[in-house]
Amino acid sequence: MSATSHPDIQKKVSVYWKVFWALLVATVITVAIANVHMGILLGIVVALIVALVKGSLVAGYFMHLFHEVRWVYGILALTAFFFVAMIVLIVWTHADQQGHNSGAFAVPARHAEPAAAKEH
């Protein structure tokens, strides 16, 4: 009835349990590193890397993405492209946001308030 034999399933089940324990350990790491003061940027990067590792374990093993067919990879490649495009396009609009005018997110001079006040 099924192409998959019982020993194959047994092997898969033991892998699923290993992934489960790995995810639990990664969750402890996620919470632990949040209590280490390493600065905003490094804190975000490290938290994202741990989340990416956990996400890859879930997608790769539980969603069987490590052994999928080309059509699924194709759908995901298109999704990844549009996902990145959407994030980038929206984030690029930050310069038009009000409320900050320094550092990497400085509002261009022509939009700055003192210059606008001089014009009037």
Partner: protein, 205 residues
């Protein structure tokens, strides 16, 4: 004449794609889900970089409860994939146990979420309190709706939908597999939501 037209590739893979219908459909659906949550994550980034002040989630949110919910969802992902593996091994009793545990984990997740939300609302922390609280309620609320949606499907496959195991076992196994794909995706979203909202450092506070 009552000729029934059988829809092909319900339980077998289509030779050219290597996928049965439901699997192709659910992956396309998940692609649209990635864009839905992606839009909210990019909104989070934009609101955060454009703000002078941003709360440190751990200062106002309940990290122990959220950690508990992370463990609950991870455990439910394992029981979900084990329920599919049980069907592959033709063990229907084990399927029912594993799927029952998956459903139970969904209930626990929602109870914990209810306790968490009540705590926030009880302290006057509502979406209008700050931009951070607005995006917190939007993202976790949408995620909780997805958990409810998954529980409806899992509940059907555990209850009335399980009759299909007697008549079309392969098709039923496929249904459990694609319901699992969705459930793991919901887990995946939470894996990113948890550090983003609860743990990332704030600024200007």
């Amino acid at each position: 004449m009552s000729a029934e037209i059988a829809i092909p590739y319900n339980d077998t893979e289509r030779p050219d794609t290597g996928l049965y219908n439901a699997k192709l459909g659910v992956w396309l659906f998940l692609a649209s889900e990635v864009m839905l949550f992606g839009a909210l994550f990019s909104s989070y980034i934009l609101l955060r970089v454009a703000s002078d002040r941003w709360e440190h989630g751990a200062d106002i949110l309940n990290v122990p409860l959220a950690t508990l919910n992370t463990v609950v969802l991870i455990a439910s992902s394992v029981t979900m994939v084990l329920s599919w593996a049980a069907l592959k091994a033709h063990n229907f009793a084990r399927y029912r146990r594993c799927m029952g545990l998956t459903f139970l984990a969904g209930v626990i997740f929602l109870i914990v979420k209810y306790i968490e939300y009540s705590g926030k609302l009880g302290h006057g922390l509502v979406p209008a309190t700050s931009t951070f609280m607005a995006i917190y309620f939007t993202m976790t609320g949408l995620h909780a709706l997805h958990v409810i949606g998954g529980m409806i499907v899992n509940g059907y496959l555990l209850g009335p939908g399980a009759k299909m195991w007697q008549t079309e076992p392969r098709r039923f196994t496929n249904r459990v597999e694609v319901a699992g794909l969705y459930w793991h995706f919901v887990d995946l979203v939470w894996i990113f939501l948890f550090p983003t909202l609860y743990l990332l450092p704030g600024k200007g506070m």
